[in-house]
Assembly symmetry: C2
Homo-oligomer: 280 residues x 2
C-alpha cells in the first residue's frame, strides 16, 4: 500500500519506520527540506518532499503535525490527494480535530496513537513505538465504514491495541488520565514554590524524594504541550477539574474536622480503585 505521512516528527517518523518494514511504500511530506532529507537518509520514508504533490499516489495519509496544525495542514493537502484516499490524524484530542477536519475530506478517520516519549522530533523516532500501546480511532456518523476498517488494519499491524469510540468519549477519558494529571501535578509544584518560609522551602527541596518526584513529574513537563491540551480539550478538562476540586474540598473538610474515619474510608477506596487503571 502507498502510505503518505505528513509531519515527520516522533510519531510520523516512527509510523514510517514500522510501516515501511511491513512492506508499504512510504511517502513523506514536510515543510522543511532538511527534514525530508533526514527522513530519506534514516530510512523512515521511501521518498519525501516539501511539496504536497508527492501525496497524489497515497492510498492512506497520516497527518502527524501538532494539534493546531492538523486542520490547516489537511486543508492544504487535500487538493492533491486521489479521490479515494483515506486521511487519518494523530492528534491527542479528538472532538475539536474531528469537527474541523471531517468537513474537509469525506474519507477522514480521527485517530490518537497513545505512544510518546519525553523527547520529540524525527531524531528520536523508533521502531515498535506503538507495540502494546492504545491507539484510539474516533469515527463519527459520517465516517465511511471501509475507511475505518482500513485504518484499523494498519494500526493493528503496528502491534497497537485498537479502541474505537466517539470523539467526546475519547476526550473525556484522556481529560481524566492525561490532562487532569498535568494540572493536578503542576499545582503541586506551584504550591510548593509559593512557600514564603525560606527555611521550610529549602528543606523541602533537599528532602524531596520518590513521592514528590512521581507526583510532580507530568506537572513539570513541556509547557507548550500543556497549553495545547488545555486549549483543545478545554471543555472536558474543566469538567474534570470541577470534580477534582470537589474531591479536594472533601479531603480538606475531613482533615479540618478531624474526621479520620471518613478520611481513611476515602483513602481505602482510592487504594482499591487504582488497580482498575493501572496494572503494575
Amino acid at each position: 500500500m502507498n502510505i503518505g505521512i505528513v509531519g515527520l516528527g516522533l510519531i510520523g517518523g516512527s509510523l514510517g519506520l514500522d510501516l515501511r518494514s511491513l512492506g508499504h511504500k512510504i511517502l513523506g511530506f514536510s515543510r522543511r527540506e532538511q527534514t525530508c532529507q533526514m527522513a530519506i537518509e534514516r530510512g523512515v520514508v521511501d521518498d519525501a518532499s516539501c511539496t504536497p504533490h508527492i501525496l497524489a499516489a497515497a492510498e492512506v495519509v497520516f497527518i502527524c503535525t501538532p494539534i493546531a496544525a492538523i486542520a490547516p495542514t489537511t486543508q492544504s493537502v487535500v487538493p492533491y490527494l486521489s479521490r479515494d484516499a483515506i486521511v487519518t490524524d494523530a492528534g491527542s484530542v479528538k472532538k475539536a480535530v474531528v469537527e474541523a477536519v471531517a468537513p474537509l475530506w469525506h474519507n477522514f478517520v480521527g485517530g490518537h496513537p497513545m505512544a510518546g516519549k519525553a523527547e520529540s522530533g524525527l531524531e528520536v523516532a523508533e521502531r515498535h513505538l506503538f507495540v502494546g500501546k492504545p491507539y484510539v480511532l474516533t469515527p463519527v456518523d459520517t465516517t465511511p465504514v471501509d475507511a475505518v476498517k482500513t485504518v484499523e488494519e494498519i494500526v493493528r499491524s503496528l502491534g497497537a491495541n485498537v479502541f474505537e469510540c466517539r470523539p467526546e468519549d475519547h476526550d473525556r477519558a484522556v481529560a481524566w488520565i492525561s490532562h487532569l494529571p498535568v494540572i493536578v501535578s503542576g499545582g503541586l509544584i506551584a504550591a510548593c514554590m509559593s512557600e514564603g518560609d525560606r527555611t521550610a522551602l529549602e528543606l523541602a527541596q533537599q528532602l524531596a524524594s520518590s513521592g514528590f518526584r512521581d507526583t510532580s513529574r507530568v506537572g513539570g513537563g513541556n509547557p507548550e504541550l500543556g497549553v495545547m491540551m488545555a486549549k483543545y480539550n478545554r471543555e472536558a478538562l474543566l469538567r474534570s477539574l470541577h470534580q477534582y476540586r470537589l474531591c479536594l474540598d472533601e479531603f480538606i473538610s475531613q482533615i479540618k474536622a478531624e474526621n479520620w474515619d471518613s478520611l481513611e474510608q476515602q483513602l481505602t477506596r482510592n487504594q482499591q480503585a487504582r488497580p482498575k487503571f493501572i496494572k503494575e
Copy 2:
C-alpha cells in the same frame, strides 16, 4: 556501644542490622515474643525481650514504633533506662512527637529517617536502607547538645545525610513534599472514580498509562499511613492544602478565561522549579 531498639519493624530491624554490623551491641524490645525470636534468628539484634528490663544496659535507645505509639511507649520504657541514656525516635512527623516526648525524658532527640519501602515489618528489614537518604534530627532548646552529637554520629555511620532543624520546619517541609502529594494524588483517583459517564470511565481505565500511574501512586497507598500523617501533621498539611487550592483555582481561572499566555508562563515556571526538588 549498647544500643536499644524499641519496635522491630522495617526501620527498627534495618537499624539493628546496620548498627550490629558496625560493632554495636543491639538490644531489642518488642511487645510480641514471636518478633523477638525472629529478630534474634535474623541477626537483627544480639538479644531481644518482651520486657523493658533489657533496655537497662542501653546507652542510646531508638523508638521505632508507629507515630501514635511513640509517646506512650517512651513513657512505659523510661523507668527502666539508665540515667544517662539518650532516647531518639523515628517518627515521620516531629512537632507533635517532640512536644509529647521531650517532657518524658531529659535526654531526648527527635529524629526522622526518610527511608521507606512499600512493604512494612521485620521481614523486609535490610542492610544499607539509610545510605544516601535524608535523616532529620530536630533538637529543641532543652535538648542537651551532647545527646544530639551522639545521635548524629550514629546516624552518620549509617551513611545517611544528616539534616538538623526545628520540629516545625521539618513538619512544614514534609507537608510539602510528602503529605500534600498524598492528598493531591488521592484527589485524582477520587475524581476519576466520580465520573458518572460509564463509557468515559471504562475507557479512562483502559487508556491510563505512565502519566496517570505516576501522579496517582502515592494517593493509592496505605490508608492508615495517610491518616496518620494527616492527624499528626494536620496544621502544616492544612497550610499546604490552602496554598495548593489557590494554585489550582488559578489554573482553573486561566483555562476558563482561555488565558493561554498566563497558563504557559505558569507551566514554564513549574518546569524550571521542579529540578530544584528533584535531581534526575
